[in-house]
């Protein structure tokens, strides 16, 4: 069951990534160039997804938007895992007041609404890709930190850690060689589950007009533009970018759920030994 879900998710994601990477390249046109003579045309053979209010082809532009959104999501997820795994593992391995203080900081970050903090960060650096990535990564590492910390707490007093310690290992060595690698599968599952969340965050920021500038395609900017066309009957301007968002979310969610099931399996197998 988990394998079928994983395969379906991977196939869908590969198709989406192929579409996002290849279409803008093969189309040979700049998706930002406007052609008002062709504005708001419905789907046809010439324009499979129709055109937007500036006459730009939505088949190409949705692909370009998907590419940008997926790129932002992947970078955010990786950064979140990096920060979260290090904070979680070191906090649990250190224990005592270091652990308590770190967890209160995590609670503090969690207490601030993510979107609000993201908006503040992005507003400071309007239209900057780095600011968008930072605003998502800096607000989403906490769940990874919690997962990794819980995993490391359950591992740090095991006998194989004692054995490494007696062999002369330092705390950092134990974290690096025994605790982090054991906690990493769980952290990666969290990262995969974070991907659609990051896509949604980026879309929301751009939809609110705080993300990327309107001419730069992302799923968020496309949905934001669709608002005006929708009232004039241009349903396709909303449907196709939204479909990209939903399909990317479903693909990644399927992969994440399958990986989470798989990560839980060795524990069960181990218990039978």
């Amino acid at each position: 069951m988990a394998d079928r879900r994983l395969r379906a998710g991977v196939v869908l994601l590969v198709l989406l990534a192929g579409y996002a990477l290849l279409v803008p390249w093969l189309a040979g046109v700049d998706d930002r160039v406007t052609d008002f003579a062709a504005a708001r045309q419905g789907p046809s053979w010439a324009h499979l997804f129709g055109t937007d209010s500036a006459g730009r082809d939505l088949f190409v532009r949705t692909a370009a938007g998907l590419r940008v959104s997926l790129f932002i999501a992947v970078v955010c997820a990786l950064l979140s895992v990096l920060i979260g795994a290090l904070v979680g593992a070191l906090s649990a391995a250190a224990g005592g007041w270091v652990d308590r203080l770190t967890m209160r900081v995590v609670d503090g970050v969690n207490a601030v609404p993510h979107l609000l903090l993201g908006i503040v960060l992005v507003a400071l650096f309007r239209g900057s890709l780095v600011a968008i990535i930072a605003s998502i990564a800096l607000t989403h590492w906490t769940q990874v930190a919690r997962i990794v910390r819980a995993e490391v707490l359950s591992l740090r007093d095991r006998e194989h850690v004692d054995a490494a310690l007696l062999g002369g290992a330092t705390r950092w060595r134990v974290v690096r060689r025994h605790l982090l690698p054991a906690a990493l599968p769980q952290a990666l599952v969290a990262a995969v589950l974070l991907l659609p969340h990051a896509v949604w965050h980026e879309s929301t920021l751009s939809f609110l007009g705080l993300g990327l500038p309107p001419h730069a395609a992302s799923l968020g900017t496309l949905l934001q533009e669709a608002r005006s066309s929708l009232l004039l009957g241009g349903w396709w301007t909303l449907v196709f970018p939204a479909l990209g968002l939903v399909l990317a979310t479903l693909a990644v969610a399927a992969i994440g759920a399958a990986l989470r099931d798989r990560a839980a399996l060795p524990e069960r197998a181990g218990a039978q030994l």
Partner: protein
Amino acid sequence: MLTLTGVDAGYEPGRPVLRGVDLRVAPGEVVGLSGPSGTGKTTLARVAALLLAPQRGTVEIDGVGASGVRYARDPRLRTAVGMVFQSPRRSVDARLRLRDVIAEPLRLRGLATAARAGATARTERVAELAGRVGLTADLLDRRPHEVSDGQLQRACLARSLASGPRYLVCDEMTAMLDASTTAALVGVVGAEVRAGRLGVLAISHDDALLDVWADRVVALGAAVAGPA
């Protein structure tokens, strides 16, 4: 000499499992420790191996007082005491091949000294240690779930010897093993002891084994102090 003096130890403050324990292990000597379940044999083993701080009393190794335990150990005592645990499954990282399990302390020693042990030297040393505990070369590339408890415990013993400890605590090392593996492992440890390289604290329920293995046996739960 590994010396425990007036040790109280336990896991909750004010509720020691052990009270006023004195114990001495000299290099070249095997001291057996017997006693019924729940008398604190493993707790004592963990105190001796500097994994658990005594609530009262002192631990001294070759004249150096142990000021901290676990990561806070005195650097001079970092690898002074080795330990072989009861369950080999629980005492190895399930992701590592046996070769890497045995090599881990060697890597650490390599990092700690100026003359960094090369990969070749390490491979040779792993092969030598594996040979000493009776592990064949083909087993070294297997992971823990692909070998038996006995084979895994052999690897654990090789790992303990790899760090070059002056004292070895064997906490029910043979409890999960068959007679021939037990004899083999006790023989390996015995050879190290006879060579004067090792003092051993052997913990076991098996009085018959301790009679054969240990130079003297102390019973926990009764008087623990051994002769000086």
